[in-house]
């Protein structure tokens, strides 16, 4: 039965992909990538600027100031800051898409393409998109200031679990433990 499901998935998956290809028949591929714009995005300072802006958007300093000086404006601040945060995340995604579009347009015609690098880059890119999706969900559900605390807690829990597992593993052979740590 399991094999039958796998084969059915293979057949239906192909039909689904064909449908996607068919539906996008009218859309012209974006061959004309703006190389200059994407090259600018690759510059290190663009990423640094984005980081500083993100820090400012999600910083609780403005919320603390409003709560102290004008508590009645709290909801308005949260609403507008949520919109700005989502816009910032969307801009990060657009920037990454432009970088990837340029990379793929150059790489597909380059005989020196390295499949290993391509897989690594693709994995990194999809991990980035997943992080953006998670960030958007959190900002929508909890707002830009509260969601910061949730993710910080998640990271703290993860670190705690890691230290716990290391304590449990202390009874193991040290060589084996070192091997596990280095994985």
């Amino acid at each position: 039965m399991m094999f039958a499901l796998i084969f059915l998935a293979a057949g239906l998956g192909l039909l689904g992909l064909l449908l996607v290809l068919f539906l996008r028949m009218g859309a012209q591929p974006q061959d004309r990538t703006d190389a200059a714009a994407a090259t600018a995005l690759l510059a290190a300072d663009a990423a640094l600027w984005a980081q500083q802006l993100g820090d400012r958007i999600f910083s609780p300093a403005d919320l603390e100031f409003i709560l102290k000086e004008a508590p009645s404006l709290r909801q308005k601040l949260l609403r507008e800051r949520r919109g700005i945060a989502l816009l910032w995340i969307a801009q990060r995604k657009d920037a990454a898409r432009a970088v990837m579009r340029l990379h793929r347009a150059v790489a597909r015609a380059n005989i020196a393409l390295n499949p290993g690098f391509e897989f690594k880059l693709a994995a990194n890119y999809f991990a980035f998109l997943a992080a953006c999706a998670l960030a958007e969900c959190l900002v929508w559900l909890r707002g830009p200031f509260a969601s910061r605390k949730v993710v910080t807690s998640l990271i703290t829990v993860g670190k705690r679990m890691r230290s716990l597992s290391e304590e449990l593993l202390e009874g193991l052979d040290p060589v084996l433990l070192e091997e596990i740590r280095n994985r």
Binding site: A4, F7, L8, A10, G11, L12, G13, L14, L15, L17, L18, V20, L21, F22, M25, P29, D31, R32, T33, A35, L42, A47, A50, Q51, G54, D55, I57, F58, I89, R92, A96, V99, M100, R101, L102, H103, R104, A105, V106, A107, R108, A109, N110, I111, A112, L113, N114, P115, F117, K120, L121, A122, N124, Y125, A127, F128, A131, A135, L138, V151
Partner: protein, 284 residues
């Protein structure tokens, strides 16, 4: 009004309903058989039309393997009708010989699709060689494991499962190519797009119907034949307008170039994406 619920129906009424339903099933089956025959002959007419147009337009040689496959299918269909009608004792041998050669031609069509799509994109071609290589090694490995385990292979267990496995390999090869086309935004011309959509549809439906046939057995036989012929007809309908005139594939935009090599570009792209991801996660 004096209405009676089904539970109150008499034997005569229930008998009438049973006879009516049986007649309906019989008529439905006959209609399906007739439609199957119509679909079979209509698809052959469309294939013949397509081959004539390819000769007239002088683009038979542009997709030589594909048109050879179509020619073979047309000839085999016509000869099959003759053998089945007048030489039924030779039908089984004829079917198997022609099936294996047809399957080999099918793989040649897949190869031709790959060649045409990736001709102007050596980077993507290299990626395709890697993916297809890994996949075929996996298939070979699975076949060897089955052989060494002493388990009966698909060929011995069931003819239908063997056909299904052959088609499934083609389906996965096409899927890999579609993923590459989508990821690297490879432009497709009208001919190539029609070829991929039509052949992919044929293979996809074939895998699904063969899987269902092998699961449900003879109960699915009539539906299998109907779906097979229908998918053949739909595929022909896709191919005829796609190949009515020859349209060369669009060339890639060579204006995109950077003054750095591939490795440096990949490294910069990787760092840019990694920094963007860190920026997203850092704010939390």
């Amino acid at each position: 009004m004096n209405r009676r619920f089904p539970s109150e129906w008499g034997k005569a009424e229930k008998g009438k309903i049973l006879i009516g339903f049986s007649l309906f099933l019989l008529e439905f089956t006959l209609a399906m058989v007739l439609l199957t025959d119509i679909a079979f002959w209509l698809s052959n007419v469309l294939i013949a039309l397509l081959l004539i147009q390819a000769f007239r337009g002088k683009f038979f040689a542009k997709y030589v393997l594909f048109f050879s496959y179509l020619s073979y299918v047309l000839v085999v269909h016509v000869v099959t009708v003759y053998v089945y009608s007048f030489r039924p004792e030779a039908y089984l041998a004829f079917y198997w010989y022609t099936y294996f050669f047809g399957a080999a031609l099918g793989y040649c069509v897949i190869w031709e699709i790959y060649t045409h799509v990736l001709r102007d994109f050596p980077g993507t071609a290299r990626m395709a060689r890697c993916l297809v290589g890994v996949f075929l090694i996996g298939v070979l490995g699975a076949a060897l494991v089955n052989a060494f385990n002493g388990e009966a292979s698909g060929l011995v267990k069931s003819v239908i499962r063997f056909e299904r496995n052959l088609q499934a390999v083609q389906a996965i090869l096409l899927t890999l190519l579609l993923i590459l086309i989508r990821y690297y935004a490879i432009p497709l011309g009208r001919n190539l797009r029609g070829l991929i959509v039509g052949y992919g549809f044929l293979i996809g439906v074939s895998v699904v119907t063969l899987t269902l046939r092998s699961q449900f057995g003879v109960a699915f036989q009539l539906w299998w034949q109907y779906l097979q012929q229908s998918s053949g007809l739909i595929t022909s309908v896709i191919w005829v307008p796609a190949f009515w005139v020859y349209v060369p594939n669009p060339k890639p935009d060579v204006s995109i170039g950077l003054d750095e090599d591939y490795a440096a570009l990949t490294e910069r792209s990787y760092r840019a994406i990694a920094k963007a991801r860190a920026a997203i996660l850092r704010v939390f």
